[in-house]
Symmetry: C2
Subunit: 450 residues, 2 copies
């Protein structure tokens, strides 16, 4: 495959073809591209041009393009389409993608679009899916799956499977349910083909099957599917009725989004912005964390103000305050990051107490090594061993406390059911700045006997 490469030239060519309404050439050219590639092109066009393209191409392709577009671009294009046109696109999509797109529409249009969908069963499935929280297995699943009743014979089962498979892009498993639609197990195609046609499914199905509840969190579903290497998993409701199926491609998206979110949180960016968003959107995502940092810095300044009487004699103490703040912040972020990641991967075993003791031993070890270096540096630079010793010992205390706060905070948040990822980044650096400066001056004062 020559990999597709989005170039300015390509976008300019497409724009020129649109401007000259060269419909034939556009169709031929875009037919060669995968819908995910066309979506990348459309993301670069203005709304008018994008709408033109969407109306020009077959709805079989454009519906897939719509699912791959940036959310804001899609919203603008759909604004330019009539409910009937939107329904046409939706009709081509699997129920999960269809429900995702419909869920983004303004409420007053949703009803109209749904009433315009020709396949009434498809419309019914989509309406069912709209009820689930986006942040749950129900919000991820599709209605397309192959299911057979345990009381059917092999003959009936094969006939029904053929009909059902029509609507399913890729059949991963054949699920077995009872008369009440409750999930009983799955069927091996091989077994199905090697028994007599009058055998009942109940005699040959495999009762062992992984499944998730419709209320399960997407991250949990992702963990289960990747741990057990599953390509699809059935979803059941509260009374164990089979209501849908989640496939691995959706889970790949969940894993990516989850990772992006944690990474942004650690960097002090409220979730869900991209480099190409507007300055205003980026400011909204970043400013709150910076203001938090400002308050922290203000608090640190006031603490230092309280030690102002030491200024004239121990100026050097004040020269190291950025170093102290930086070390407290770095140690805090390291400790919290490893806990956050461990929690995300279910790697954290043992008690909170032993975890804290380990982290403080680790911080102590690191602190002693760093303090030795700092002692040497300050002693050589400023000539006073006593001051150098006071600064270095304070550094050890600061690092141990920073390690404690960095470890304790995410564990505590997690216990309380709050996403521990919020505890990394600016949150931990700011609180550690304040505690660090306070401990530093307090211990230095004690040692120097002021």
């Amino acid at each position: 495959m020559t990999p597709f490469k989005l170039t300015d030239q390509l976008v300019a060519d497409i724009q020129s073809l649109i401007a000259h309404q060269e419909d034939g050439q556009l169709r031929t050219m875009l037919k060669e591209f995968h819908y995910a590639d066309v979506a990348e092109i459309v993301n670069e066009l203005d709304t008018e041009e994008a709408t033109y393209l969407i109306k020009l191409l077959d709805s079989e392709k454009t519906s897939d393009i719509l699912t791959e577009l940036d959310e804001d671009v899609r919203e603008e294009i759909l604004n330019n389409l009539s409910p009937k046109e939107i329904a046409g696109e939706i009709g081509e999509l699997d129920t999960d993608d269809a429900a995702d797109i419909i869920g983004e529409l303004p409420k007053e249009i949703i009803k109209e679009v749904i009433s315009e969908i020709e396949d009434k069963d498809h419309a019914k499935d989509i309406v069912d899916l709209l009820r689930y929280d986006e942040d749950s297995a129900g919000g991820l699943m599709a209605k397309e799956l192959v299911k057979v009743n345990e009381n059917w014979t092999v003959t009936k089962c094969v006939r029904q499977m053929r009909i059902q498979a029509e609507n399913v892009t890729r059949v991963h498993s054949i699920y077995v349910v009872d008369d009440e639609e409750k999930l009983k197990g799955r069927l091996s195609l091989k077994d199905l083909l090697t028994v007599s046609t009058e055998t009942h499914i109940s005699e040959i199905y495999i009762p062992k099957v992984d499944y998730v509840n419709v209320n399960e969190k997407p991250e949990e579903v992702a963990k289960i599917m990747s741990k057990y290497d599953l390509e699809a998993i059935p979803v059941v409701d509260e009374i164990n009725r089979l209501v849908g199926r989640i496939t691995i491609d959706d889970i790949v998206d969940v894993i990516r989004e989850e990772a992006d979110k944690d990474y942004q949180m650690a960097a002090g960016i409220s979730q869900d912005v991209e480099a190409d968003d507007s300055i205003w959107e980026l400011t909204r995502a970043r400013l709150p964390w910076l203001i938090l940092g400002l308050f922290g810095g203000g608090a640190a300044a006031m603490i230092m103000g309280g030690f102002e009487e030491m200024f004239s004699k121990y100026t050097v103490l004040f020269l190291f305050t950025p170093l102290i703040a930086a070390m407290a912040g770095n140690v805090g972020v390291q400790s919290s990051a490893i806990i956050v990641q461990g929690l995300a991967n279910d790697d954290i075993k043992g008690s909170v107490g032993s975890r804290l003791i380990k982290e403080m031993l680790l911080a102590l070890l690191n602190g002693i090594i760093l303090a030795a270096l700092l002692l040497l540096f300050t002693w050589v630079w400023k000539g006073s061993f006593n001051t150098a010793l006071a600064i270095s010992v304070s550094l050890i205390a600061v690092i141990v406390v920073a390690g404690f706060i960095g470890t304790f905070t995410p564990l505590f948040l997690h216990k309380r059911g709050i996403d521990p990822a919020i505890a990394t980044g600016p949150f931990i650096t700011t609180s550690n700045d304040i505690f660090g400066i306070l401990i530093y001056f307090w211990i230095a004062k004690l040692i120097l006997g002021i």
Copy 2:
């Protein structure tokens, strides 16, 4: 599915059964668990116990357990097995997992293990795979796939497919090659079943097929497969010969590892440690970044030392140095994180110049808002408008420069072919601390006319 939960009680029970050599009970109990769950249990046992279990259970299950174990646990267990026993486990695995495990063994044992593998074709495939760099498509792929020659008739094709499919856990696609093994396309099962048995494959295959080169980076393979929603992708060598296949479950692991690595880098942790690693391993991963921070702090102290003559009159300037360092660090991390993430997701379009201008405008906007808050705070606290103004204006300059450095560094590293993720976290906070302090005092001095 009642989700599996690893408890101390469960581990203790297993340990007690091992101690009393209750083989029958152990077998019955563990038969119920998925191999990934048994691996979690084995990770908690000591080497003796773990080896006992591995020798006790069927090699069909233990081979799968081995692939799921922590690397250090697996290494210890394999140390306790003879080459013949290891070969027995390897023989049960797909070629990709087999090659991964053999690749971890000491060199002198590898040859012995391979010579003990009974299926000589399997051994040959594994040897082939060992040649590829772990960090490439070749290092990820498996040899198990279904391929047919374009010159075969449908009859021959179906017969050959049956034989090949025996070794393939899940057939995602049927690949078509020519006499020189070059990848030509893929085959639709439906087409195969609806044409006459004497038709040649060359007449019915689909020439459009996604593939990757064996030297492609795993991250690139992950991008392609997740963009195009592929569950498997064929791998070709330099002259386009079909040499293997990569499945989505391996890609899920790649995505997770990549995300973990970037997250740890941003937090100042050299890659590949977990919360449960030893204090020594954790220190090795964390200390280098802390020493970097120490040097930065030392440099900042020396810079501040250069402005010591301002101490007596403008003490307040020194109180805000932790705030300045924190803001420079936070803005730098925000800017670099969004670039690193954009680069990872191929979201960064447009020129470096326009990207820098945008980031600096954004920093300017944030800076002005933050400076206004700081001005008010300092003015009220210290009473001197002039000093407050000097500090606030300096803050704006610091933030703009921090935004510039945070944006420029990852873009520059990426252009040079270096992983930009290294530019987040301690690296950027440390350099921004230094520049921030320097700019802050320099501008404040200018404004206050000292």
